[in-house]
């Protein structure tokens, strides 16, 4: 694919997917700085793998790129100071808000460390409210398999958070 075609394809993909990408990245990051960094990694990833995004599986590849970008952004953040930034959230009592924000931040951080399929399953199930039938198609597995990925991811998150909270 020549350069002009690559640039044109990138433009089309950006126009089509930017809303969805932004929504997922925001839910995965919950922080403007982290979001911006993950977004830049995503754009780079899309450009670098543009040939793979020229077909029916473009959506699935973009998912993978978004999750990888999210993991990289979190890794940079964790490497910087070892902590996560607090999510910017809705109005609640200060204690409740802090607790909710901290837990949400921990969950987000741990999602960035999940195996790819588990992270993908969690995003599709809880962040995009997709049904298991659709998740199974996206993950190329059975519905039971999709449920298994979600269950394993929740169990992993529970264990990791239990350690962090203790």
């Amino acid at each position: 694919m020549n350069y002009t075609k690559r640039a044109e394809l990138f433009r089309q993909l950006r126009a089509k997917h930017i809303g969805c990408i932004s929504s997922v990245l925001w839910k995965l990051t919950g922080d403007r700085e982290l979001f911006t960094e993950a977004m830049q990694y995503t754009l780079l990833g899309m450009w670098q793998h543009i040939e793979k995004l020229n077909g029916r599986k473009a959506g699935a590849y973009i998912y993978r790129i978004v999750l990888t970008a999210n993991s990289k952004a979190w890794r940079d953040r964790i490497g910087k100071n070892g902590h996560f930034n607090h999510t910017e959230g809705q109005e609640q009592s200060p204690d409740e808000k802090l607790n909710r924000i901290e837990l949400a931040g921990m969950v987000r951080q741990e999602i960035s460390r999940l195996p790819a399929k588990q992270a993908k399953a969690i995003v599709m199930r809880y962040f995009e409210q997709q049904d298991y039938e659709n998740i199974a198609v996206q993950l190329c597995c059975t519905q039971a398999g999709a449920r298994s990925h979600v269950s394993k991811a929740i169990a992993a998150l529970k264990n990791k958070l239990a350690v962090l909270i203790e």
Binding site: I18, W26, Y41, L43, V107, R108, Y126, I154, A155
Partner: protein
């Protein structure tokens, strides 16, 4: 915490609406990126590099992309402020480099002078004469000004890799960053170095620390400190792309020198070569005791004495030459343990030569489940990690 609680948190996150300003950020960033693509006909990697530098992504990521770009021959980038990406440019690109390097600590280490021209190096170690290293052809020319002798050394194989210039090693580490995005680059702020205002960057991972101090005005590195395992190397007095008399790195025998017939074999090295160093050091230099410590600096310092001891042996010149070569290989064996970040430990302090029950040195070869343990009698045994001598 139970599964329901996790699910509740996930659902709450899922229900969060995308703030309008965040969508704006996304739109802005993506449009900006796209504009860069459509406005330029430059190769993609240059575009990515420029894009990243403008957008202040992490310097680590920027460096990684620039490294890729360098391989297709892009020109230097000089931004308004000195970044790690700027600083590594001359390291990656310079054809000629003149430098001093200190193996060991600044105060007590061995000073080596290198003139690097492309893939050739003229390395001068005080009292040991110059060596010209031709990395492309995997040969060394060793010159001894005292007896005007010269010898060619074949360094095909692993030795060739180990002999690379120190800037080459730094280049490799910087290039390897692409494969290790988790390696953090830390800014160290500014300080005065040799009268110059310098800004520092530290790249560290468990068995390696690379610190680069660069001129705040030109971004040219003026001091590089590399700590691998327990060995430190300081590169200083660095001049990039200076005019160099290329005859200094000629592999021809200089007038007045006599060529030693035959070529020394440095095509491979193993622990037996290293054991020869241990043996001569303990038996002939320290009168039956192993040294207190073991580092590249230690070995380089004792090298002239080892050579003297070998010269005093009642054996043929050919045999002396071969023992000397084995010691050179032994040094490379030790260095490659550090370069490859192998787990090794020297425990020979206070151990007597010939003590068959006490370990002197142990290392775990790459990919091995067991350690190789060298004992005071120079026997070698394999040992599981849980059975290692205390």
């Amino acid at each position: 915490m139970n599964n329901e609680k996790i699910e509740e948190i996930l659902k709450n996150i899922g229900a969060e609406k995308l703030p309008a300003d965040v969508l704006e950020i996304a739109e802005h960033k993506s449009r900006d990126f796209e504009k860069t693509l459509t406005q330029s006909k430059q190769p993609k990697l240059i575009i990515l590099r420029d894009y990243i530098m403008r957008n202040k992504l992490t310097k680590l990521a920027a460096a990684a992309v620039i490294i890729i770009a360098v391989t297709i021959g892009v020109s230097q980038f000089l931004g308004g402020t000195v970044t790690f990406a700027d600083v590594i440019q001359p390291i990656l690109n310079a054809r000629t480099i003149v430098l001093d390097l200190v193996v060991g600590s600044e105060e007590t280490g061995l000073l080596v002078h290198d003139i690097v021209v492309g893939t050739k190096i003229r390395r001068t170690i005080p009292n040991m004469g110059p060596t010209i290293i031709d990395l492309d052809n995997a040969r060394m020319l060793r010159l001894d000004p005292l007896d005007k002798s010269a010898v060619y050394v074949d360094i095909q194989g692993p030795f060739q890799k180990g002999m690379k210039n120190h800037i080459g090693l730094v280049r490799d580490i910087v290039a390897d960053m692409e494969n290790h995005p988790e390696w953090p680059v830390q800014e160290l702020g500014q300080r005065q170095i040799d009268g110059q205002r310098a800004v520092g960057f530290l790249l560290s991972e468990p068995k390696m620390k690379l610190t680069i101090w660069a001129d705040t005005e030109t971004a040219a590195p003026i001091r590089i400190e590399l700590l691998m395992g327990q060995s430190q190397t300081i590169i200083k007095n660095i001049e990039f792309d200076v005019l160099v008399d290329e005859s200094l790195v000629s592999m021809d025998i200089p007038d007045g020198y006599t060529l030693y017939e035959g070529e020394l074999d440095y095509t491979d090295f193993d622990e037996q070569d290293f054991i020869i160093i241990l043996q001569f050091w303990a038996e002939h230099v320290l009168g039956g005791n192993f040294p207190d410590s073991m580092s590249a600096e230690d070995i380089l310092k004792v090298a002239p004495v080892l050579r003297q001891k070998v010269d005093q042996l009642n054996i043929s010149d050919e045999e002396k030459m071969q023992i000397g070569a084995a010691m050179g290989r032994g040094f490379m064996f030790f260095r490659q343990l550090e370069f490859s970040r192998t787990d090794w430990h020297y425990v020979g302090k206070g151990v007597e030569f010939d003590d068959a029950n006490t370990a002197v040195f142990l290392y775990r070869p790459k990919g091995s489940d067991t350690y190789r343990v060298i004992y005071g009698d120079l026997s070698v045994k394999d040992s599981a990690p849980e059975d290692l001598p205390q």
